[in-house]
């Protein structure tokens, strides 16, 4: 009976989702025939709020767009505003920014690995990667004083300097993590359970990835060379160049291995920065008011390209701050890709793009209006479940 489509709603509160999002999968048997997502549970209206706060207050507001990639949001914002104001940022500050950004990438990728493993039912790997992630969290806490929202960036530079003792801690942490990352890389391509859940699932060809506009590790897993650290080196990436990591397969396994291989690049860059940290000041003078103008600031967040458009009207407040986060680019294509997959693959497919709803919800929601469907509420589904189990008993 194709007219009686079954809709499975998931979320916004759901054990597998740590963040609020509401998904609906229509299924025929086990096969997904349509997927929609309703976000907006974490939409807070940050873009508007930026217009009413001064430049410094906005910095901390934007930092709290996302708790996982907080530093990269402020970096994008600071780079843009500093360019508008014509402020020279000392090279040491830029290098420290890059250092923290790479440490953040390490933490984000390890976090993601854990979550993806959890979705695959591989909780041992989840616990392993989160245990090891504490190493980088400790490093970040020692360097900046907070584990998540580091608040290391200020307009014109950074707050926290690096000394030799801290550099040594970072080196030790990175050495430990590198050994662990080799282990994970070995594990994810050999463990039959994990491979079954990832190999050949959610394949995106290179043409599709370009056409659908994927960014970040999801694009690089499909052999699309998009990495702003390489294409347009910002902050100190021209001094400490990064190699782009590409995979050709385009499936979930490729997305896992791109992220893990990127970690090695991050470790290398972190070590180079520690060895060749430029000397000098860590802060430039920042005026209270920023002269009129517009700028585009693009940086590579752990999840892909982050796009900021900042317009100033010459006062101490921004005229407009537009934020386009990578999740937005990646989530919609995944919804298209979901069609034809097993329902059981959905958590992994979603985890594969590393969706970050708090990033996203600041501004957007995707929903394909699908009419003439039998929509089930959570309550109805629950009742149905109870009925089924009653019958079984």
């Amino acid at each position: 009976m194709p007219s009686e489509r079954f809709v499975i709603p998931i979320g916004p509160q759901h054990p597998a989702l740590k963040e609020p999002g509401h998904f609906e999968f229509s299924v025929e048997g086990e096969r997904v025939t349509g997927a929609t997502v309703r976000l907006g549970y974490a939409h807070r209206g940050i873009e508007k709020a930026c217009e009413e706060r001064n430049w410094v207050q906005s910095l901390y507001l934007l930092e709290r767009i996302c708790g996982i990639c907080s530093h990269i949001h402020t970096t994008a914002y600071c780079l843009g505003v500093e360019r508008l104001a014509g402020v020279e940022v000392p090279p040491r500050a830029q290098a420290i920014r890059v250092l923290i950004a790479e440490l953040e990438r390490v933490h984000s990728h390890l976090l993601w690995l854990g979550v993806a493993a959890h979705e695959a039912g591989f909780d041992t790997l989840f616990m392993y990667s989160w245990r090891d992630r504490e190493t980088v969290m400790d490093v970040l806490e020692g360097l900046t004083g907070n584990r998540v929202n580091y608040s290391a960036n200020v307009l014109g530079g950074v707050k926290y300097d690096l000394d030799e003792a801290r550099a040594e801690t970072i080196r030790k942490g990175v050495d430990y993590l590198e050994a662990r990352t080799y282990y994970y890389l070995e594990l994810v391509v050999h463990d039959p359970v994990f491979v079954q859940r990832t190999r050949g699932i959610g394949t995106v060809t290179r043409e599709q990835a370009e056409w659908l506009g994927l960014v970040g590790p999801a694009a690089r897993a499909s052999n699309v060379a998009r990495d702003l650290r390489v294409e347009s080196p910002y902050a100190a990436y021209d001094l400490f160049p990064v190699q782009m990591v590409l995979e050709t397969a385009g499936d979930l396994e490729a997305r896992v291995s791109v992220r893990l291989k990127e970690l090695f690049e991050s470790y290398r860059v972190i070590r180079t920065i520690l060895d060749k940290l430029p000397t000098g000041e860590i802060k430039g003078r920042m005026p209270k008011k920023v002269r009129e103008g517009e700028t585009v600031s693009r940086v590579e967040a752990p999840r892909g390209e982050l796009f900021y458009f900042i317009k100033s009207n010459g006062t101490d407040k921004a005229e407009r701050v537009k934020v386009r986060t990578p999740t937005l680019c990646n989530l919609a294509p995944m919804m298209t890709l979901a069609i034809g997959h097993q329902l059981a693959d959905m958590p992994m497919l979603l985890a594969g793009v590393d969706p970050c709803f708090s990033c996203n919800d600041r501004s957007i929601v995707v929903r394909n209006a699908q009419e003439a469907e039998t929509r089930w509420t959570w309550e109805q589904l629950r009742r149905y479940g109870i009925e089924v189990y009653k019958c079984k008993r």
Partner: protein, 155 residues
């Protein structure tokens, strides 16, 4: 008569003991930046291991004793927060984690933000921090359990 009273007392104490030694928690993000959420998740991972105290983070509000709330409450999430709270069986406790959940934090006055959690549902314990360290979250949960134990949660 006396025996019955004694029995009731014993029952109440037993219930309090049971409820404060293995509370199950459900986590709801009502619009947070994710910072608090990953720290809550970190408390169940090996380093902090919240299960040492019998606390288990699980999915269904119907099996939960503690509702762990993060984030300022957005308009869209308000209804869900209320519904989850209503679905929880009594006695129930609410733990507001993070500055946003306590006051709205940096999001005070944003157009899509209703505000703090205790404007929607009653809160029993507040854990400030942006985000609080996992240790601070554990501290908050322990303080909550202490309080519950002192007050007794037989009913």
């Amino acid at each position: 008569m006396r025996l019955e009273e004694l029995w009731e007392q014993l029952e109440a104490r037993l219930a309090t003991w049971g409820r404060t030694h293995s509370p199950w928690a459900v986590h709801f993000n009502s619009g947070s930046c994710n910072g608090c959420d990953i720290e809550i998740l970190a408390t169940i991972t090996p380093r902090y291991d919240l299960e040492r105290f019998g606390v288990k983070i699980q999915g269904s509000p119907r099996h939960a004793d503690i509702l762990v709330c993060t984030g300022p409450v957005t308009r869209q999430a308000r209804e869900r927060l209320l519904r989850i709270y209503e679905q929880m069986p009594s006695p129930k406790f609410v733990l507001a984690v993070g500055t946003c959940a306590i006051s709205g934090g940096v999001f005070q006055g944003c157009y899509n933000v209703v505000g703090r959690v205790d404007a929607v549902i009653p809160v029993d314990m507040y854990v400030p921090g942006c985000p609080p360290r996992p240790e601070a979250i554990i501290d908050g949960i322990l303080k909550l359990l202490e309080k519950a134990q002192a007050e007794g949660v037989a009913t």
